[in-house]
Amino acid sequence: MRLPYRSKLAAASVLAVLAAGAAFADPVPDAELVVNEEIELVTRVAPGPAVADVLTEVYSGWLYRESETRAMQMDDFDNPAMVFVDQGLDMWDTVDGTEGKSCASCHEGIESMKGVRTSMPKMNGAATDLWSLENFVNDCRTERMGAEAWKWNSNDMKNMTSAISLQSRGEPMKVSVEGAAADWWERGKEIYYTRYGQLELACANCHEANAGYMIRADHLSQGQINGFPTYRLKDAGVVSIHQRFVGCVRDTRAETFAAGSEEFRALELYVASRGEGLSIEGVSVRP
């Protein structure tokens, strides 16, 4: 006996909506994200071409959070991630490695990084590999500074990606999925819809089919990455995109992929394309 249960369920939730006057499957309907009372960020947008067939509207994870958490992100004095941004800014000017250079030696002020985060991940200069922001940072460190590569989820790396991401705050996400990136995007899409682990759950089960619903104490968002790096109150620290992916895959009782792996870089590209048009929030605050 195989029943189309979803339709029954959908009918039930329509009734619940009529009764309650608000759909629990929706994010906060009227919140607007304005940081420091001046920077207006886009948190809802019509879907880009990558997801026009599966989403009716694209929402930032910010919209799904409680009002206190949302408020913390609206003022840089209250945003706990700013401490780490400051450490990243210091590092920007810090000479390291055998060449006696800092990031500033080649790039001058960090404002030169404006817009960079919006197109990540993207093909490297030689068009041989898909690189996340972390890869570009490490390429500068090893090839141009003669310094050691930072570990993907090290504090140094997360401080730096936080400082760089902040330069793109308010700019719309727009990754390239053409040319050499097209294969990566396909691979990422396949991963997004694969039901991993002993619980057999795909990203899409939680973040596409059930965004807006509660999974235990968590209000499921669309799992967008425009807010990253994000300050996670539960971890009392900054979390990278791949770190979040590791956590979500682990929760399906699966063997995860490693941070920085080809699989997660491909997935990052695909998820980024799902969030096209959302503002980079980097650095956001999440529970």
Partner: protein, 161 residues
């Protein structure tokens, strides 16, 4: 003295029989007889314990059913999810065999459902060692034991409105 010897001689055999008994009667994950989505026979050959089942349903590392299901019958359990339907009245809607089938492997009842299979050990993509994120080192056990499945079924059967 004679009695003493007899006692020692019997003890290991008795212990072995006791340990072997429930296992021998258990239906292994790969050998479940489904009738559509339903499983008629108890996996242990005996009825479960509803109170133990309630515990399994609310423990995150075990059934964690409340992650996805609301249940007014458990008002003390905070943060109930609402991905699946509320379970109140489940025993009015489904038979024991149907409920057992859903806990064993709900995909046999609801095609492609998000609900995990709790008594299954194969057919997974990159299964992990519990919630460690690592590959399992030994053979993968089902999420719930046969006894735990029966306990959950016993609890579900109390859900009448």
């Amino acid at each position: 003295m004679k009695r003493h010897v007899a006692h020692w001689a019997m003890a290991p055999a008795l212990a072995a029989t006791l340990a072997a008994l429930p296992v021998a009667a258990e239906t292994a994950p790969g050998t479940i007889a489904f009738d559509g989505g339903a499983v008629a026979a108890s996996l242990t050959g005996a009825p479960g314990d509803a109170a133990a089942g309630a515990k399994v349903m609310t423990t995150a590392a075990l059934g964690n059913c409340v992650a996805c299901h609301e249940l007014a019958a458990m008002p003390d359990v905070q943060f109930q999810g609402n991905i699946g339907p509320a379970l109140d009245g489940a025993a009015d809607r489904w038979t024991e065999a149907e409920l057992r089938g859903m806990v064993v492997n709900a995909k046999m009842t609801f095609d492609g459902t998000m609900m995990p299979a709790f008594y299954k050990t194969d057919g997974f993509i990159r299964p992990g060692d519990g919630y460690t994120g690592k590959a399992p080192e030994a053979e993968l056990p089902p999420v719930l034991t046969a006894q735990q499945v029966e306990d959950v079924v016993a609890y579900l059967l109390t859900l009448k409105e």
